[in-house]
Amino acid sequence: MATTTIAPAERENYLNKEYGLGSWLLTTDHKRIALLYLISITFFFFIGGFFALLIRLELLTPAGDLVQADTYNKLFTQHGQVMVFFFLIPSIPAVLGNFLVPMMIGAKDLAFPRINLLSWYLYIIGGALMIHAMLTGGVDTGWTFYTPFSTAFSNTKVIEAGLAIFIAGFSSILTGLNFIVTIHRMRAPGMTWSRLPLFIWAHYATSIIQILGTPVIAITLVLVVAERALHLGIFDPKLGGDPLLFQHLFWFYSHPAVYIMILPSMGVVSEIIACFARKRIFGYTFVAISSLSIAVFGFLVWAHHMFVAGISVYAALVFSLLSYSVAVPSAVKVFNWTATLYKGSIHYDAPMLYAFGFLGLFTIGGLTGLFLACLGVDMHVHDTYFVIAHFHYIMVGGALMGYLGGMHFWWPKISGKLYPEGWARLAALIVFIGFNLTFFPQFILGYLGMPRRYYQYPGEFQVLNVLSTAGATVLGVGYLLPMIYFLWSMRYGKPAPDNPWNAAGLEWQTQSPPTTFNFEKEPVVTWEAYNYDEIDAGHKEEVPVVG
């Protein structure tokens, strides 16, 4: 199964096959496009992170003293827009998904390689427009674009930002479309649905949301842009429109969008836990089905963002009830991951540490979601720092932790190099501690009543805000570290073997880094997913796990 030979440096692979800018910018190789995405989303991550740092610095003191109120409003708006639309949504699907989906199912490429490249260009055009909007005045509507503020009151670059996200949305749609077709049509012989890695199931579920949810925000943004440019009255109560209609349409996408961010991360964690516990995932079928049900139920719950917005109480009841339908499959996943550890043979390599971090943070993030879905409590904590803390636990604690875990897990495959394990474990620890220090105090702040999007606040909230800012600096270091040692490893890292973790999965059966078409020979799958018993049985003298 797993080969232990160290790859000779001169072996041809997707990285050294062709050189030059053109060979990258015109590539249709899913792996190269994944790297293009990796570079671009990292760029946006650090822009968004820079905004976050400024926000935290401003909130160090109760008075608004670091930046102007308008600047602060632009900071949190652009932090949200950049992080949500230009980092989190493309993060795992467009980087790890792009790289791994074809390899895991034994395909040579995605079904539509050129559409794949097109979606990267759309992302770049959207991103460029977003940056242009930020440089020429910025946006101050909040990432939610609530009307009538965004359509009739804001004096900032709403139209440009709206179009930027519209374009980036199509990038996301095309990625989802590509994945669905690829997973349906390109599986290698023997790769049945029940043999698919859970990573693939998660991406399949994600893609469903991408193709069915994203167009709704696209049209909503078209309406916002049109209304702002031409003074139509679709969302403006002064002209007969209903601002709540905007919120309905916006959240119809933006709630499921949370699952675009978290589902792939769940897929990553399933792979990592299985590998480092040397076990098949407990309840494979249930974990796979829970991904799909999260995708479907995710569409039924959007108005829980609107409990105090002025919707009908009866609708609020329905949406609150439905919201719990998403909580069940999420809980099922957590229980199954935990049960997978039972009687495992657990290794503590860096990816596993990230997976543990994910488990802890996602548990807290998920459970605090119960508070927000609960009508009586949401009345109090809605639009406070409680909400901020909750969704950062899901999107940063969950999605980003999974992304980093995945990056560490597959970095040897992607780059063909090994990163320094000690540093990686340290970074995982720093991120976990920094994260909790940043965001846990925000739960308390929210309960005490500090509203979100405040650039100055009453003095009694200061202690918790200082804690949070302190945590943010730790977190910042935690995020910088991996970037540094990943870059370092590309030049100085030891060459990675083809399967450094002795992991199951087709992607490990090809060389590191893979050749342009992934496999020397079309693989034929004759085994179930996560056949760690067979792998370990075949290696009695154990190949030492790297690290």
Binding site: H184, L212, H248, L249, F252, F299, A303, I311, S312, A315
Partner: protein, 113 residues
């Protein structure tokens, strides 16, 4: 899913075409008769039948040997239905007298009559 092997014969195409044209004419003419609320119902029913005909025969959905395409169509319509119906759930039950309320006045009118 072999599409080209299952193309409908020409006769079906022309029959569908004529039906669609008749449907269009029918929609147009029925709209001129006052049927109250049933005007919209009739118009939408005809539109659905026409759309179904196009999908089944022109887009070869009827002969798609694979269930997948049908599943995609049905589930897309399901999510569209979710979007429309759950937002309506809000608009229909906002109480009181403003015109944001859609359903409640109708229900009271129904009970009274």
């Amino acid at each position: 899913m072999s599409v080209h092997a299952t193309s409908s014969p020409l006769k079906t195409y022309f029959a569908v075409w004529v039906t669609l044209l008749i449907g269009t004419l029918l929609t147009y003419e029925v709209a001129k008769i006052d049927l109250g609320v049933f005007n919209s119902a009739v118009a939408l029913t005809i539109a659905c039948i026409k759309a179904l005909l196009v999908a089944l025969f022109f887009m070869h959905l009827r002969h798609a040997s694979e269930k997948l395409l049908k599943v995609i169509v049905i589930s897309t319509l399901f999510f569209l239905f979710i979007l429309l119906s759950l937002s309506m759930a809000d608009y229909a039950t906002r109480g009181g007298g403003g015109h944001a309320s859609l359903l409640l006045p109708h229900i009271t009118a129904l009970i009274r009559s």
